[in-house]
């Protein structure tokens, strides 16, 4: 790999003529394998990525350039324009022990195909008549370096895998998309089991009756709530001011949600898909409590904007690839689980209510108007037992009630690749409408 510090000196010299004094060079090499079963038959591909990115800024202008192949040390660069940008300064990196999984070899072709074929077999066994429309496994590794003229210098390695499964029964279609640090850890039986449950709910369920009360939300539904809260957790980049309807609720009650709501972002989560010692700008990552007992404690932010500050989380700037402008975003953002509580125990204690397993759309969450609705599937529950299959029901209410009515969390923390890796355990919530009047 090119020596990034040497490259930075050359690039910085070539950009100085354009008045750009602050310069950052990012280099990445990667290798990935993709296997897919779908309408194109069987596909196996091998990709070698070799890219670079340069950010540079002067007093009143800036630029971001990126490309594949060798970094052009002396340009040509386009003329900078627009506002300036700030690069972060160096911060001490706390000790980082590289997980062994980071050095695990990529899946070879037959291993990757075997995982997909196992999914195909499990689906045929678990639900005759169902079809696997698309299955894609990606397994990759990369080495990145970032250096800047303010003294940041970092080198890190990442390793990650994703599995996308899309299955259908008649006209009903469901998608499971999961991520992890090692493709070999994907469990086809468990994943396909979730697909079968969801397809059966869609096949057998009815919309159910209008109701109001307690609901138990499984992780795929609960994680949508966390996704909706992201603008509040992204600090200045979130764009949600305190003047919003939801912001007023926070001001009035001093909290976003109940005492059971604890939200954490952890850039070093053990076996996490995005775990690394530093973020995309070379700023050290760490674990940050964003919401503690429902109270907002910190937001995610740029390392540069928070140089010298003690509050707020840094080390959370993400680069989806070398082609993308670094942006503040979560790495592993999750609602903390309660290790003592199983989802089965929460269900057993539910005397009357609903257990929703399936988010049938992404939902609509309006922070400004303090309202939400999402289409869900699952079961009506009496005395801890499912009594009726529900599909296409509208779960709605005020967002403040959704978070304030959180009564318990389970231990089944599950992550989903959304805007970052977002995770939630099952959540028990009171005071929500099922098939109530639309608030939108």
């Amino acid at each position: 790999m090119t020596d990034a510090r040497v490259a930075l000196d050359r690039v910085a010299r070539s950009l100085l003529a354009a008045g750009l004094e602050a310069v950052e060079v990012y280099l990445k090499i990667g290798r990935s394998r993709r296997a897919a079963l779908g309408s194109e038959g069987r596909l196996v591909s091998l990709h070698r990525e070799n890219g670079w990115a340069v950010r540079a800024s002067g007093a009143r202008s800036s630029l971001f350039c990126c490309g594949s192949g060798e970094l052009p040390l002396s340009g040509p660069w386009p003329s900078p324009d627009g506002p300036s940008l700030r690069l972060p300064g160096p911060r001490p990196v706390t000790e980082w022990r590289e997980p062994a999984a980071l050095r695990a070899p990529l899946c070879v072709e037959h291993e990757a195909l075997e995982i997909l074929e196992a999914c195909e077999r499990e689906l045929a066994r678990g639900l005759p008549g169902a079809r696997l429309l698309q299955a894609t496994l990606e397994d990759g590794e990369s080495d990145s370096q970032v250096v800047n003229t303010r003294g940041v210098e970092a080198l890190w390695r990442q390793r990650g895998s994703t599995l996308y499964l899309e299955a259908a029964l008649g006209d009903d279609r469901v998608i499971e998309f999961v991520g992890g640090s090692n493709a070999r850890a994907f469990n086809p039986r468990a994943l396909v089991g979730r697909i079968v449950d969801r397809l059966l709910i869609r096949r057998d369920g009815t919309i159910g009756e209008r109701d109001r009360g307690t609901v138990l939300l499984a992780p795929p539904v609960a994680v949508r709530i966390l996704d909706a809260l992201l603008p509040l957790l992204l600090g200045d980049e979130g764009g949600s001011g305190s003047g919003s309807g939801f912001g007023s609720f926070m001001a009035e009650h001093g909290a976003l949600g109940s005492k059971h709501l604890n939200v954490v972002d952890d850039g070093r989560l053990a076996n996490g898909l995005f775990s690394a010692p530093v973020d995309g700008e070379g700023v050290p990552t760490g674990k940050t409590v964003l919401l503690e007992k429902g109270v907002l404690r910190a937001t995610l932010g740029h390392g540069a904007a928070r140089d010298g500050e003690t509050g707020g989380a840094v080390g959370c700037v993400r680069r989806a690839s070398y082609r993308d402008i670094p942006r503040v975003g979560p790495s592993h953002l999750f609602i903390e689980a309660d290790a003592r509580m199983s989802p089965g125990a929460l269900l057993a204690d539910l005397s009357r209510g609903h257990y929703f397993l399936d988010a049938m759309d992404a939902g609509r969450f309006d922070l400004e108007g303090d309202r939400f609705e999402i289409t869900v599937g699952g079961f009506a529950v009496r005395s801890g037992e499912p009594t009726r299959t529900i599909s296409g029901a509208r779960l709605s209410g005020r967002l403040s009630q959704l978070l304030g009515g959180l009564e318990a969390v389970a231990r089944d923390l599950t992550f989903f690749p959304l805007r970052g890796l977002l995770g939630s355990p099952s959540l028990l919530i009171t005071g929500l409408d099922v098939n109530g009047k639309s608030r939108f």
Partner: protein, 436 residues
């Protein structure tokens, strides 16, 4: 050879060594793209430039596709990629030429970028409106070349601009071959539409006639005709060739895909598999005439014609997609279309999707205007049209007499982000319900 001074015939011979069965498909796809984006955000960077180049080798054998993709053109890269795709270590080394691009890309002129936002602001003021908005302009250039065992078509190039505008009442995006006065006027009209419709009433349920402007017609046909007739969609529910002859819509509809009939900066002679593109009739008098196929799917049936393959990137395999949809114009002028009972006129569709299994079509309109007896009236807010694609296409009762090159946008089906284009006229439909 555009990408290299190397001997293309030598590359063809190497590919022929890899494809040792008569039915094998093997090709080398060379790609080079450059994007320059001018942003108007509050924080930097103010300018974004992306240059991307590399190649991919594909081998299709017995329904299996092996693809090896590389960034850049490092020495020895082609040889090692050939070994990887063939998955053999030959007893004698391939005699493979090196690939190299011919120098760095030229950086496009800035002038038209710099004053585009100013021109749009001026055009908005001329429409007696003033509000805050941002415009992000990007120039996209792409050159691709394909080398096969026997094929070596000329390189293809495309160059266009993409615009992404944001207002407090929603965004607007489009693609355009040029930042000319027509483009400025179209963007200003779309932005002012959002401004005028900002407090407009929301429709609970409306079942009267609707008229779509050419840009909205383009999105509707892209979802309901093009996506419905792509072989990777059709294969999910049966044999793609079985669609031929099926009545998909009103007998007024004649729709074709014609990548060769676009403005010069976008025009294609060959597809992304190096095969000549066709003026492909998709619908004749509302019945399916042909479907969109690439080489892989065309191999499944002798009734399917390849030539509609597109690659979003060298890292992805080719897929069958439309490039430029054309709707044959009808004989109604715009005033005719607005005659009669009260209806709603939609100038744009902000989003559309087709469920490939159920055929359920959903299109979202950012706003519209009521019309009655030939005159446009009050604005209406965001609304949605839902229905089976065939039901919606059967509701077409008149087509405008003037076509426009309009309605271009990004298609992102199955993760393949591709620019798509259309030449369409106004469309009048009845018997459909518009709701929320």
């Amino acid at each position: 050879m555009w990408f290299s001074s190397a001997d293309a015939a030598a590359i063809g011979r190497c590919l022929a060594q890899v494809a040792d069965q008569a039915t094998d498909i093997v090709d080398l796809f060379l790609e080079r793209r450059y994007e320059l984006e001018m942003r108007s955000e509050e924080t930097g960077p103010g300018v974004v430039a992306r240059r991307d180049e590399g190649f991919a080798i594909r081998l299709v054998r017995d329904g299996h596709t092996h693809l090896v993709a590389r960034d850049g053109f490092e020495a020895g890269a082609l040889e090692s990629a050939l070994r990887e795709v063939a998955r053999v270590i030959p007893s004698s080394a391939y005699s493979v030429p090196e690939l190299a691009t011919l120098g760095p890309p030229e950086i496009p002129a800035w002038d038209e970028f710099l004053d585009f936002q100013t021109r749009v602001r001026q055009a908005v003021r001329e429409r007696h409106a003033a509000f805050d908005f941002r415009v992000r302009v990007a120039h996209h250039r792409r050159r691709v070349q394909l080398v096969g065992r026997r094929l070596m078509p000329e390189p293809e190039t495309e160059a266009f601009f993409s615009l992404a505008c944001s207002t407090p009442w929603g965004g607007f995006g489009t693609l355009t071959p040029e930042l000319d006065d027509d483009c400025v006027a179209a963007v200003a009209k779309a932005l002012v539409g959002r401004f005028r419709a900002r407090g407009a009433s929301v429709i609970g349920g409306f079942a009267g006639p609707i008229v779509l402007a050419p840009a909205a017609t383009a999105v509707l046909l892209h979802e309901a005709v093009a996506h419905a007739l792509e072989t990777d969609t059709l294969v999910l529910s049966g044999r793609p060739e079985a669609a031929v002859g099926v009545a998909l819509g009103s007998d007024l509809l004649d729709v074709l895909d014609s990548p060769g009939d676009m403005p010069p900066a976008l025009r294609r002679e060959t597809d992304d598999e190096g095969l000549p593109v066709l003026r492909r009739w998709l619908l004749r008098r509302g019945c399916v005439s042909q479907v969109l196929a690439d080489r892989f799917h065309a191999g499944l049936s002798p009734h399917l014609l390849p030539g509609a393959a597109r690659r979003a990137s060298r890292h992805l395999p080719p897929v069958p997609r439309s490039t430029h949809l054309e709707l044959v114009p009808g004989d109604h002028d715009f005033a005719d279309l607005l005659e009669g009972a009260s209806g709603i006129y939609f100038s744009e569709i902000s989003r559309g999707r087709l469920d490939p299994l159920s055929g359920e079509l959903v299109v979202e309109f950012p706003h519209g205007r009521r019309f009655r007896a030939g005159r446009l009236g009050d604005w209406v807010g965001r609304c949605v049209l839902r229905g089976k694609a065939s039901q919606v296409l059967s509701a077409v009762e008149a087509i405008g007499d003037e076509s426009e090159f309009a309605g271009a946008g990004w298609c992102a089906k199955a993760g393949h982000r591709l620019p798509v284009w259309a030449t369409c006229a106004h469309l009048r439909l009845s018997g459909l319900e518009i709701g929320q």
